[in-house]
Each structure stands twice: as structure tokens, then as C-alpha cells.
């Protein structure tokens, strides 16, 4: 795992919706990650760890129910924070 500076590791909860739940084979997982991390780096780690490659360009990533707009921003994670992975659904 890529350690960014001296930032600590924290346990966060990752929630998977729709197609991402199928690919990750779970609706919720605990994930250990650096507490200060670039959003893009976090996304890449999730894609690799949870088999999300096929939908890597079609995801909403939300941190505590807030959309992560810019993958270059640094986010600060606390123990128990929620990251939601939301691909689009097209059925009706």
C-alpha cells in the first residue's frame, strides 16, 4: 500500500450499490486506508480491491453522502466514515 507521508491508517466503511455490489460480491465492506488521501488514489484502491474495473469510469463516489467532485482533492477520513460507490442504473 502506498503510504502518503506519515498519515495514519483508518478503518472506513465502503457501501456498494447496484452493479458495484455484484462485482464486489458484498453490499458493505470495511476498508483500511490512509486517513489523508487523494480522492483519485482512494478510488483506484477501491477499484483494484473490489473488482470494479469494468465500471471504473462510471461511478459516483460519495464521502459521508457528499459527492466527491474532484479526484485531485485531498480528503480527510475518520474512523467509521462512509464511502458510497454508486454506478448508474438504467432499467425501468
Amino acid at each position: 500500500m502506498n503510504m502518503e507521508g506519515s498519515s495514519l491508517l483508518v478503518n472506513i466503511n465502503v457501501l456498494f450499490f447496484a452493479k458495484s455490489r455484484e462485482l464486489a460480491k458484498t453490499s458493505r465492506a470495511e476498508f483500511t486506508v490512509e486517513s489523508v488521501i487523494k480522492a483519485g488514489n482512494l478510488l483506484n484502491q477501491l477499484i483494484d480491491s473490489f473488482n470494479l474495473n469494468t465500471i471504473s469510469n462510471n461511478l459516483i463516489i460519495a464521502h459521508n453522502e457528499n459527492y466527491i467532485e474532484n479526484l485531485d482533492t485531498e480528503i480527510h477520513l475518520h474512523k467509521g466514515d462512509e464511502i458510497a460507490v454508486i454506478p448508474p442504473i438504467s432499467g425501468g
Binding site: I55, N58, I60, S90, G92
Partner: protein, 452 residues
């Protein structure tokens, strides 16, 4: 003896009932064709006239309105002015399926004055568990027509215009222009981008709902100065292999019903102008845990190809090409295997009749296998083929290259994927798939084998 006779009566009865249902559906389809031809011949272009006839502008409620809408009229936020706005409004619903039916039902019964219904498809039995406006007796009829009949029974004061054809890049702007609000109740990615682009260009709020399995999503695009469009959130379409339709993934009617009803609610709020419209937020519904999450999504993307100050897309494009998928939710027949790697269901049937020893792998999901299966089939879900865990399980049979292995699925698509994968590992083994799968079996071998 008596029991046996009663049994055969039952079988005969079931056969006749099925035959009558099929004939009824065929009759409805013919009726539909006739109606379309008649309309076209009688007054060519009538749809346009109806659509663009000046809408009646209502200044007051009738006594019937007051009695009918009394329970919502007494809502402080809604009131007489809200009812009048609704009465003077025009809403376009695209897709008269699991989302469109409940949405249309609530909009018509709430007193929306003009409703446009878009759907190119016909009512089928497998629609009825979630598409609540259609009925058994209207199988084979156009979905828009069928919904219109149901809606007029609910509220004869609603003017309903049917657009019983596929919405595409050529007709979308023309149709949408006549409406104030659009509901995306469609079932495919291409139509979602088409609706988004047209609504953004015409500045029409787009109430977008979607559902699959037990999941639902809802948001309003193209609303207000800062509201994002679909492309702001999803700039590129997902790859076709990552898209599941309701026919393959399944869906529960109460889930589409939940989202569809909320689409009607958001449309009413947009029209009447009360409350906080669900723009810049997305509602995520997980029916499994019955949890609603409200995710704050972004505003307009500053470099959006469509709705930013410098758009790259200024006219509608070819959305099937852009998405690499058809603008419907039907599966296409794959062509992955050559004829020597496939067997016709009738030929397989003959092999079975001659009791030729073989292995038949059914690669459907266990829930589907439970619905129906061929007598000799072993359930090995496609995932177990693709991750090679089948090799250990069938090590014995795989020792002999000549031992015939057949693969079957519902329609003959996944079985091809499976054979292709197995053949890469065992090029000289006799591995073939059943052409047209279980649907082919029902059609050509056993009419009593269930179809889903």
C-alpha cells in the same frame, strides 16, 4: 381411472386457456395495427395537430375538480393555484413500463391536464407484475394505448396523447418541445442520454428514475441555473457488458412502483413550484434494507460537453452508436461460436432419446435453474465456468476428450461465452452449446417447457 381422466381434463383445459390467451394477444396486436393504419390514413399527421393544438388555459376549477381533488386542495403548499398549474401543465412520460405506469397513474389522478405517453413496445404477460396499468386482456396492445385506456378510466378530464413509436434523434426535439416537464422512465442507456441532451437543449426539467433488482435511483436533471445534467454526473456511458436489463437481472414491482411514484411527486413539485426539488441530489433506494440515501451530487460540470458555457455537443447525436447499445432492453443474439461448436436443440433431443452418455451443464444462475431445467442438466453458473472452478468438479469427465459436453442457458448467449472459455482451455474436447437455449427447446421440442 377417474383421477387420470380428471388429470387429462385439466391438461386439456390449461392448453385451451393458453391458446385463447395467445389468440387474444394476437388479436390485440392486429387491432393495434389497424388503429394505427386508420389514424394514419384518416388524418395524416394528426398526432402533431393534437399535440400542438393550443392548450386550453384554465382560469378556474370546476365543481367536479373541487370534489375530485379536495384532499390535495386543502394542502397549504398546493391549494387552488397549485391545482390550476397542474391542470394547465403538460408532462411527457417516456417508457410506459414499471416506472412509467405508477408515475402516469399519480399524475393523471392528481389532475395533470395533458399527458404524453411514449412507448414503442406492446404489452406482454411478463410485464404485468410491475407495469400496473396494463391488463391480461390488453396483452399485444401498444403500451401507450393500454395505459391511455386505464388512465382515462381513472380521470377522464386528462388529455392523453400516445406516441407509440421509438423516441430517436429525429423526433425527440419535436415531441419534447410541446411539454413542460419530461419523466425518464426508460429502460436503456441510449434513451437516457438522448432524453438528457434534448431536455438540456430545450431547457426542460428531466425527472429521471431507474430501477433494477431491489435498487432504485431518482434525481432531477436540467433543473434551475446550477442543476447538473446526466452528462455532468456520468460523462461517458458504461461498457455494454456492465449494463444489466430487467429481463436478465430481474426487478420487483414494488421497487419500480416506489421510484415511479416519487417521479410523479417531483414532477408535481416542479410544476407547482413548492418544496425542495431533488436537483443536485440523488436519492438512492435500497429495497433490500429499505434504506433511502440522499447523496448530494455536483452542480453543473464546468467543462460538461453539453450544458457548460462552451458545449461540444450542440445537436442530437446517434445515441446507439455513442453507447454501443440499442435503444431498448432486449438482448441481442450473440454469434461467438462457429456451427461446429453448436448443436441444434432437436439434434440434442435425439441424442438424449438414444441415451448417449454426455454431460449437460446449465450455466444459468441457481434462481433461474430452480424455475425449470432439462432432466439431465447440472447447474454450473457461468461464474464457475469463467473462474475455472468447474475443472476440478468435472475432472473425471474431462479426462476423455471424446466425452460429449453440452452447455445450455436461457437463450443461447451465456452458453456461447462458456463454450468459448472452455474451448480455450480444452481445444480438442467435444464441447458444444445448445443453439437458442431453453427458449429453443420450448419452441422446437417441448411446448410445455416453461418460458420466462
Amino acid at each position: 381411472m377417474i383421477a387420470a381422466a380428471a388429470d387429462s381434463f385439466e391438461v386439456e383445459k390449461a392448453k385451451l386457456c393458453r391458446k385463447i390467451a395467445e389468440l387474444q394477444a394476437a388479436l390485440n396486436a392486429k387491432d393495434q395495427k389497424l388503429r394505427e393504419l386508420q389514424t394514419r390514413a384518416d388524418n395524416y399527421g394528426a398526432e402533431d395537430e393534437v399535440q400542438f393544438a393550443p392548450r386550453d388555459k384554465h382560469e378556474a376549477l370546476s365543481n367536479d375538480d373541487i370534489a375530485r381533488y379536495s384532499r390535495q386542495l386543502i394542502l397549504t403548499d398546493f391549494g387552488v393555484s397549485g391545482q390550476l398549474k397542474l391542470k394547465n401543465s403538460a408532462v411527457l412520460i417516456v417508457g410506459m413500463g414499471g416506472l412509467g405506469c405508477p408515475a402516469a397513474q399519480y399524475l393523471a389522478s392528481a389532475g395533470c391536464g395533458n399527458l404524453g405517453l411514449v412507448d414503442y413496445d406492446q404489452v406482454e404477460r411478463s410485464n404485468l407484475h410491475r407495469q400496473t396499468l396494463h391488463t391480461v386482456s390488453r396483452c399485444g396492445m401498444s403500451k401507450a394505448e393500454s395505459a391511455r385506456i386505464a388512465l382515462l378510466e381513472l380521470n377522464p378530464h386528462c388529455r392523453i396523447i400516445c406516441h407509440s413509436h421509438l423516441l430517436n434523434s429525429f423526433n425527440a426535439m419535436h415531441i419534447i418541445r410541446a411539454y413542460d416537464v419530461v419523466l425518464d422512465c426508460s429502460d436503456n442507456v441510449a434513451t437516457r442520454y438522448l432524453l438528457n441532451d434534448a431536455c438540456s437543449m430545450l431547457q426542460r426539467p428531466l425527472v429521471s428514475g431507474s430501477a433494477l433488482k431491489l435498487d432504485g435511483q431518482l434525481t432531477v436533471y436540467c433543473y434551475g441555473e446550477h442543476g447538473p445534467c446526466y452528462r455532468c454526473i456520468y460523462p461517458v456511458p458504461p461498457p455494454p457488458e456492465a449494463v444489466t436489463n430487467c429481463g436478465d437481472g430481474g426487478v420487483l414491482g414494488a421497487v419500480t412502483g416506489t421510484i415511479g411514484a416519487m417521479q410523479a411527486l417531483e414532477a408535481i413539485k416542479v410544476i407547482v413550484g413548492f418544496g425542495d426539488v431533488l436537483a443536485g441530489r440523488m436519492l438512492i433506494f435500497d429495497g433490500n434494507s429499505c434504506q433511502f440515501r440522499n447523496i448530494k451530487i455536483r452542480g453543473k460540470r464546468p467543462n460538461c460537453h453539453l450544458c457548460s458555457a462552451q458545449p461540444l455537443i450542440t445537436g442530437l447525436i446517434d445515441y446507439e452508436l455513442f453507447c454501443g447499445m440499442n435503444a431498448n432492453d432486449k438482448d441481442n443474439a450473440l454469434q461467438l461460436l462457429g456451427p461446429e461448436q453448436r448443436i441444434k436443440v432437436l439434434d440434442y433431443h435425439n441424442l438424449v432419446a438414444q441415451t448417449v452418455p454426455h454431460l449437460l451443464l446449465d450455466v444459468r444462475a441457481p434462481a433461474e435453474f430452480e424455475i425449470c431445467q432439462l432432466p439431465d442438466a447440472t447447474n454450473v453458473p457461468l461464474a464457475q465456468i469463467l473462474d475455472d472452478s468447474y475443472i476440478q468438479r468435472f475432472a473425471e469427465q474431462l479426462k476423455n476428450k471424446q466425452y460429449p459436453i453440452f452447455v445450455v442457458c436461457r437463450r443461447g448467449n451465456d452458453s456461447q461465452i462458456a463454450v468459448q472459455h472452455m474451448k480455450a482451455r480444452f481445444p480438442d474436447h467435444s464441447i458444444r452449446d445448445l443453439e437458442d437455449g431453453l427458449h429453443g427447446w420450448t419452441k422446437l421440442v417441448d411446448q410445455n417447457f416453461p418460458i420466462y
